[in-house]
């Protein structure tokens, strides 16, 4: 997080002579994000060169839809990573929230207007649980959320009785009111001549909200400070505990929203939904330039990371060399992005000293 438009520094000794250093932090972030989007364009160009008929708006729309839920979860995880903690449980929260909705609505006949808020509140509750254990009981967040990942998957299996749900084809003897069904599928309905799902709009809206929160609000400013130096934040009496818990709660809520949106789009949910998203979401945040040691990360970078992953996945599927290649790329890009980061900052530090 940096300030643009630095004011004339009347109090400074050297005045403007050190401009190169002046915008350094801003410049670094811009370089990192510029590089990321250059990679995104490069991947697109390479795909089109190999497979010219991939140059197609439908492919682009598919990529955007496919990245939406990963991006929404990444934004939640970004907040937790910026405050210096780890959340491994969001994939399980994604599944749990969708399953809570399915069980309440489809099995127990609770109105969707009630079931939806309860499902999202479940995500918040899980975040509160994670955050409370991390801050009040001082259990490392890696352990807490590894535990809650399994715990939540267990709850999902339990409440669903290991079955799959689809509101369009409810179990025998259950009828879903048409208005409720329309509302639910309408959450991610597709519009336009080249149909584009509302899920993309949800992603963009949430990205704007998280951007405002992280980069333009006191909450985000302090979140960044707490993640950068928790000891200093505690000594300066910043509300460290509250901010950490809030980050976990927001992460849980966003994972729940992602789960419900995907449920609405795919129209089926099963107990293990979302679990396989865990590592791609981490990869998106890391590729986006966030630091696992906390205090560093941007919304635009995270979205770029999710876009690059979705693009690679889609592109490689079109080129169809086999599923192993997608995995190989996911691994290589994650390590490569961080290795590049560290190399660049080492060069910069050497030049500075």
């Amino acid at each position: 997080m940096t300030f643009d438009n630095p004011p004339p520094t009347s109090g400074s000794a050297q005045g403007r002579s050190g401009f190169s250093q002046a915008g350094q932090a801003t410049f670094d972030v811009a370089l990192r994000i510029g590089g990321l989007f250059a990679a995104i364009i490069l991947v697109a160009v390479i795909t089109v060169i190999i497979k010219p008929n991939a140059f197609n708006l439908d492919v682009g729309i598919t990529v955007l839809r496919a990245m939406s839920s990963v991006a929404i979860m990444s934004l939640g995880l970004l907040l937790v990573i910026v405050v210096g903690e780890i959340d491994l449980s969001f994939g399980a929260v994604y599944g749990l929230c969708a399953n809570v909705l399915a069980v309440l609505w489809i099995v127990n006949g609770v109105s969707v207007y009630v079931a939806l808020p309860i499902a999202i509140a479940t995500g918040a509750l899980v975040g509160l649980f994670n955050g409370a254990l991390v801050t009040w009981f001082k259990i490392p967040s890696f352990i807490v959320t590894l535990g809650s990942y399994n715990l939540l998957y267990g709850v999902s299996l339990w409440i669903t009785n290991t079955s799959t749900f689809n509101p369009v084809y409810p179990p025998a003897g259950v009828t879903i009111p048409q208005a409720e069904l329309d509302l639910f599928t309408g959450l991610t309905a597709s519009y336009g001549t080249r149909p584009i799902s509302l899920e993309v709009a949800w992603m963009i809206g949430i990205a704007v909200l998280v951007w405002l929160l992280l980069h333009r609000s006191l909450f985000g400013f302090r979140l960044t400070a707490v993640g950068g130096n928790p000891v200093a934040a505690r000594l300066a009496r910043l509300p460290v505990t509250r901010y950490k818990i809030l980050a976990f709660v927001l992460c849980g809520v966003l994972a729940g929203i992602a789960g419900i949106l995907d449920f609405s789009f795919i129209q089926t949910v099963q107990p293990n939904s979302g679990l396989s998203a865990t590592f791609p979401v981490f990869a998106a945040v890391i590729i986006g330039g966030a630091s696992l040691s906390g205090g560093k990360g941007t919304v635009i970078g995270t979205i770029g990371g999710a876009l690059l992953l979705a693009e690679l996945q889609q592109g490689l599927a079109l080129l169809s060399p086999g599923p192993h290649v997608q995995q190989l790329f996911l691994g290589a890009v994650t390590i490569g992005a961080v290795a590049l980061d560290l190399t660049l900052s080492k060069i910069r530090n050497r030049r500075a000293s």
Binding site: P6, P7, S12, Q24, L218, A232, L235, G294
Partner: protein, 498 residues
């Protein structure tokens, strides 16, 4: 054991960036004696220890061992450093710690042999051979460290503030060990802030200031008072900060604590008051309770007693009216934030954020520009990373963070640690200006010069109690103040011993 040899340092120089740590230091260490090394913070003592221990190279100069050039970086096994915090493996037993690095064969888990066991007996750690080192007392851990060094035939032993966390019985034991090492013909050097230990245990004491040995005290010259005066002697006469103003003996009180007792026992039944405009200095060695007293005023130690700051009392006063600047800059600065963001990091609604917690970005730029000018931070641009500032400017940013909160009571722990002379003067000026606006300032100092330049009154802590205040303005020379502070500490020690 190898034959003992004398170590001579000739013209050792070392600089870190723009800071000169050692400036052509000459020193001779002789076998068979305990050599004391005294000096104010930042004088170069720790750098000297690191270079002798082979932890880092000198920029220039020569180290001689019995007259021939010697490189501790290569021959590090000959040197042993005993720190306040032993640098060992808490997850292994004492016996395993003895053997780590000297296991011999990698095939089998190492076993304790007769020679090592004998050594552990003489060091008095054989009984705890199979106890986890982390579960042992600090004294045992230090003895393990010494035993390790003896076992690898080390001949130079450097003790760096070894007894600041030991009980007095443990401390006596450690000094017996130190003398035994010296008698065995080893070179032994002691770095400490406790002047009494120099007088009791050292044959010679080298006073290091500004990267050189300024004086070697021995014989009749070697007294606590003598060392204390040497420590504060400066080429340029120091100017006492509080000199010009007379503080009202009566009048309003800015803050007051009574019957103030630490739950962890660092201090008990302390009374302390400060008037608006007064800079109070707390002094004392590690373990005296002075540092903890300062931190307790920031609400960082659990205490009982009454506290009042301004109009607030109890926990509300601790939470709302005091701001604390820690000694270490890594405990106050955020390396991921720019200089400007660091300055404002303690502020909230309404200073930097408004409705809906939205940041007032234009207002922030104004505040940052004001703060940079007001607190004399030399910065190319506010968006510069805070790491790229010099130590003195980083410290100004750390102090500015707290000052911008406009606390009734400003608390600083070692306000100028690792800061150059020019910035020191500027920082004292900032503190004085803040006090002059009717606030109270309390600083914890380890350096008497700092007290002399920055404070109005000084209270000396010893054994968890505070002395009565000394008015700095009453002293024309810093050496007199040094003598009186040492006398207060000695009296107190005599009082508690009796």
């Amino acid at each position: 054991m190898t034959a003992a040899a004398a170590v001579s340092l000739r013209g050792i120089a070392k600089r870190y960036g723009s800071t000169i740590a050692l400036d052509g230091l000459d020193l001779d260490l002789r076998p068979g004696e305990v050599m004391g090394i005294a000096g104010p913070n930042g004088a170069g003592k720790s750098t000297l220890v690191r270079i002798l221990a082979g932890e880092e190279p000198a920029d220039s100069g020569q180290i001689l061992l019995n007259g021939t050039p010697w490189a501790p970086m290569q021959d590090w096994a000959r040197v042993a450093v005993v720190h306040q915090e032993p640098q060992l493996f808490p997850n292994l037993t004492v016996a395993e710690n003895m053997l780590v690095g000297r296991e011999g064969s990698f095939a089998a888990r190492p076993r304790l042999d007769a020679a090592n066991l004998g050594l552990m007996r003489t060091m008095g750690i054989a009984d705890v051979a199979h106890v986890m080192l982390g579960d042992c007392t600090l004294a045992i851990q230090q003895r393990t460290e010494i035993a390790r060094a003896v076992a690898r035939n080390a001949s130079v032993f450097l003790f760096d503030e070894p007894n600041s966390a030991l009980t007095s019985a443990e401390s006596d034991e450690l000094f017996r060990e130190m003398h035994a090492l010296a008698r065995a013909g080893h070179i032994v050097a002691l770095v400490t802030h406790r002047l009494g230990d120099f007088v009791a245990h050292c044959q010679r004491v080298a006073v290091v200031r500004d990267g050189r040995v300024r004086r070697i005290l021995e014989g009749a010259e070697l007294t606590e008072d003598g060392i204390a005066r040497q420590l504060v002697t400066v080429e340029k006469a120091a100017t006492p900060g509080g000199r010009s103003r007379q503080l009202a003996e009566q009048g309003p009180i800015a803050f007051q604590v009574q019957d103030w007792t630490d739950r962890n026992g660092a201090f008990a039944q302390v009374s302390l008051t400060g008037r608006p405009g007064e800079v109070v200095a707390l002094m004392g060695v590690e373990g005296s309770g002075a540092r903890e007293m300062l931190r307790s005023l920031a609400g960082l130690e659990r205490c009982t007693g009454q506290i009042q700051i301004g109009a607030l009392q109890g926990n509300r006063a601790l939470r709302g009216a005091a701001a604390y600047v820690p000694a270490a800059r890594q405990h106050s600065l955020y390396s991921n934030l720019s200089v400007g963001e660091n300055l404002l990091v303690r502020l909230g609604v309404p200073q930097i954020a408004g409705r809906g917690l939205a940041l007032k970005r234009r207002q922030m730029q104004v505040l940052i520009a004001d703060a940079i000018a007001r607190f004399l931070v030399k910065v190319r641009a506010p968006s510069q990373p805070v790491r790229s500032l010099s130590g003195g400017n980083q410290q100004k940013v750390a102090i500015a963070q707290a000052l911008l909160c406009a606390p009734d009571l400003l608390l600083l722990e070692e306000p100028t640690r690792g800061v150059d002379i020019h910035s020191k003067a500027e920082i004292y000026g900032l503190l004085r200006a803040y006090a002059a606006k009717g606030h109270a300032v309390v600083i914890f100092c380890t350096e008497l010069l700092e007290v002399y330049e920055a404070a109005d009154t000084v209270r000396v802590a010893s054994g968890g109690r505070l002395s009565s205040p000394l008015a700095v303005a009453a002293y024309d020379q810093v050496e007199q103040l040094a003598s009186d502070v040492i006398r207060l500490e000695q009296d107190h020690r005599a009082g508690t011993a009796a």
